[in-house]
């Protein structure tokens, strides 16, 4: 698939850019933050986005979606990165709907996906338990109880867990923390007995929750996919998450880069525009190269997954490593070049820096993905 946007993708891009600029600019995130909004975003606006078709982009037409791919969703994610729109694309569409598509039975897909595509159902994947990203470091246990299971454990950084209508919990039916084998995915009702969901306040003002599971009883029909084979679902799912966040980061870092270059052309010191200083010019030009490289690999990662290309995971790791590093570079340099004003809460650069850090650490940072890239390249 070409790295140039198709006509359809370009159309989605224009619509997304226009809609988000009008309805969810950076001031929207700031207002939600300042109001201490419990949802973390506007459900009404999410419904409108769903009506534009965005919640159903990668969902099959038979399940109420438009049957497109991650490449198309990536276009929207990129635009959402430019305005820091805190909407549940990753939690609900990529991870939640993705898990159900990859592992769910036809009945489970029919029950949930049309409502996701319509913007009426929100999902959250509860897998992480510790700070540094380690996908198989899962201790939460699912023990057989009668015809079903009992789940016990504590999940952290559950994206949009505070508003999810269904939680997808990754728990251990066998083995020890760190083992690839023995993981199972469960659909859990957040209002069930023993489920405690607590919103955690994060630097990027996005919705995330801590989920405690105190002997939560679920039936056998709550199992998504194979018992003990959850890693085969979790791995491709996390690849989708990493590729999606890379696309969002491309939007974010492009926006910060554009704003920084614009600032270099307007800010005067020593009687001249600071953009005349070669020390800043060279750093800006260096960033330009990094931005271009990041965009290329992020586009290819989405396409590699859509095409189910051999070694797609390797491209995803390259993209996540690259986009994480570039986002860090561009937000730090952008802040520095804005000078003192960049340190104020009033200036928006700081909001970009915070989101960039959260996105950088989500699904593995650059060091994690370089290590994985090396492994997938045979060294």
């Amino acid at each position: 698939m070409s790295l140039v946007l198709s006509e359809e993708q370009a159309l989605i891009k224009d619509t997304a850019a226009e809609f988000l600029k009008e309805h969810a600019p950076v001031t929207h995130l700031r207002a939600l933050r300042d109001a201490g909004d419990a949802t973390g975003f506007s459900k009404k606006l999410w419904k409108e986005m769903a009506e534009l078709g965005w919640a159903g982009i990668p969902i099959a037409e038979a399940h109420g979606g438009s049957g497109l791919g991650l490449a198309e969703l990536g276009v929207v994610l990129e635009e959402s990165g430019r305005t820091l729109a805190p909407y549940p694309f990753v939690s609900t569409v990529v991870l939640g709907a993705g898990a159900i598509q990859l592992a769910g039975s036809e009945a489970q897909q029919q029950a949930i996906l049309p409502s996701v595509a319509a913007g009426d159902t929100l999902l959250a994947l509860a897998f992480e338990e510790r700070g540094r990203f380690a996908p198989f470091a899962i201790e939460t246990r699912a023990e057989s109880a009668g015809d079903g299971y009992r789940l016990t454990g504590e999940k952290r950084f559950v994206l949009d867990g505070q508003v999810a209508d269904h939680l997808i919990v990754v728990a251990r039916t066998a083995g020890e923390a760190g083992d690839r084998d023995g993981l199972t995915l469960f659909l859990v009702d957040p209002s069930a007995d023993g489920v405690h969901v607590e919103r955690t306040v994060m630097i990027d003002s996005r919705g995330a929750a801590r989920v405690r599971l105190a002997g939560v009883a679920v039936g056998a029909d709550a199992v998504l996919g194979e018992v003990g084979g959850g890693a085969d679902v979790l791995e491709p799912l996390l690849d989708r998450g990493a590729a999606a966040v890379s696309a969002e980061l491309v939007g974010l870092l492009s926006e910060v880069f554009d704003r920084t270059v614009a600032y270099l052309k307007t800010r005067e010191q020593f009687g001249v525009l600071i953009g005349t200083f070669q020390a800043l010019k060279h750093r800006a030009a260096t960033m330009f190269c990094e931005v271009e490289l990041s965009r290329s690999v992020a586009l290819d990662a989405l396409r590699a997954l859509d095409e189910d290309r051999p070694h797609a995971a390797r491209v995803v790791s390259a993209a996540k490593a690259r986009c994480s590093d570039t986002a860090s570079l561009v937000t730090c340099e952008g802040l520095q070049m804005h000078g003192g004003i960049g340190m104020t809460d009033e200036e928006e650069i700081g909001l970009f820096l915070k989101r960039a850090k959260a996105a950088e650490l989500a699904f593995g940072d650059a060091a994690y993905h370089r290590d994985r890239f090396a492994r997938l390249t045979g060294f």
């Binding site: 790295l3 070694h311 060294f379």
Partner: protein, 401 residues
């Protein structure tokens, strides 16, 4: 893909011509060590006779007159028939030729282009001077018109292959009062004449691919001024673009393999990592030295991203979307990547990489080491990395002077 747009008759004619002309020892699969110099010349002459060394140039100037699709078919067919496709110096085919086609007058095209195609004349480029490196427009080599001739005095440096060249295309100062960019003219002249002295320069790598060239009352025919008098800087810039494009190809490593992989999926591998494994060994399939492994991973990853960006830029240019990323960026990135790769290889080989010559070191180790030394010039030649950053800041980002 290409073949759909090209008639079978064209392909058949091409195949039968190549079959008839290619000398037996230069056939695909033959033993090329049996080929004589005469065989090679005959193959070049036959290939150039139809203009195939410059396939897209118009026939009236000695070119092949082929479309891009036909050129791809030519490449396919010659690969079927022969061990190699004859080539002539890229200074003529890729640098001067396109400039003459764009800026030259009819007589100049008729006189010079066919001799590029046939390989009769080898060209070199007279650009940099001892006092004019990054600040090329400050050049001081003078050309003064005396009757029907330009009389040239001065010196050029870093002239690639001057000692093997017949003619030079040269930037000269023809107006000494005008601002520096506005007094430069683009002039062609024969290097095989009295007053021209060519001295090869030995580099830190031990090689001598560059020369310094001295001019003492060297003469060029008046008609060999290309483009307007004092309008040489426009041509110079266009040529630098061609040069940067040539220096910006994918670096050795992943991108080339990535392309090959599309045809036949194979497991991804890293030549750098293989080399490191041979020197360091590994544990459980991973390179033992974690820090070095990380450097190699970063290099391979950057190389992949660079290859994808080259591809995207090409696709954008073809589809008319976006401006395509800057040539300067590719020149900058390719040379910095090449330098990094050479540094990693030095690190991997340890003291085995310190050999200069002699039996104590393998020829490949010596070659790698010389390559490391040569790579230091990558970010200097064709415009330094700092100049590329200036160009990006000014032309792409629009930052103020």
């Amino acid at each position: 893909m290409a073949s759909e747009e090209v008639s079978q008759a064209f392909r058949d004619d091409l195949r039968s011509y190549l079959e008839a002309q290619c000398p037996a020892p230069l056939r695909k699969g033959a033993d090329p060590s049996a080929a004589t110099e005469a065989d090679r010349q005959a193959w070049l002459d036959a290939y150039a006779a139809r203009g195939y060394t410059t396939p897209t140039w118009p026939k009236e100037y000695g070119g092949g007159g082929l479309s891009k699709a036909e050129t791809r078919v030519l490449a396919e067919e010659v690969a079927q028939v022969a061990a190699y496709a004859p080539v002539v110096s890229f200074f003529g085919t890729s640098m001067l030729g396109p400039v003459l086609l764009e800026f030259g007058n009819e007589d100049q095209k008729k006189e010079h282009l066919p001799k590029i195609t046939s390989g009769e004349i080898n060209w070199c480029q007279g650009y940099s001077e001892p006092g004019s490196g990054s600040d090329l427009a400050s050049l001081q080599t003078r050309a003064v018109l005396e009757g029907d001739h330009w009389v040239i005095n001065g010196s050029k440096i870093w002239t690639t292959g001057a000692n093997h060249a017949d003619w030079m295309f040269c930037l000269t100062r023809t107006d000494f009062e005008a601002p520096k960019h506005d007094g430069i003219s683009f002039i062609l002249f024969d290097l095989r004449q009295p007053g021209v002295t060519i001295s090869p320069i030995q580099l830190i790598s031990g090689a001598s691919e560059f020369c310094q060239v001295f001019f003492e009352d060297v003469r060029a025919e008046k008609r060999n001024l290309v483009g307007p008098l004092n309008g040489g800087w426009t041509i110079a810039k266009r040529l630098l673009q061609h040069e940067r494009q040539m220096l910006s190809g994918p670096v050795d490593g992943a991108p080339r393999r990535a392309r090959a992989k599309q045809a036949a999926p194979t497991d991804p591998r890293s030549a750098l990592a293989e080399s490191a494994r041979a020197h360091l060994g590994d544990a459980d399939g991973q390179l033992g030295d974690a820090a070095l492994r990380d450097r190699i991973a970063q290099w391979e990853l950057d190389s992949m991203c660079f290859g994808l960006t080259l591809r995207r830029s090409g696709e954008e240019a073809r589809s008319g979307q976006g401006a395509g990323a800057a040539t300067s960026m590719f020149k900058l990135y390719a040379s910095e990547m090449n330098k990094r790769r050479a540094e990693i290889l030095m690190s991997v080989r340890g003291s085995d990489g310190l050999g200069w010559e002699g039996e104590a070191f393998s020829p490949s180790d010596i070659m790698e080491t010389r390559g490391w030394l040569r790579s230091k010039g990558n970010s200097i030649e064709g415009g330094t990395s700092e100049v590329q950053l200036n160009v990006i800041a000014k032309r792409v980002l629009g930052l103020p002077d």
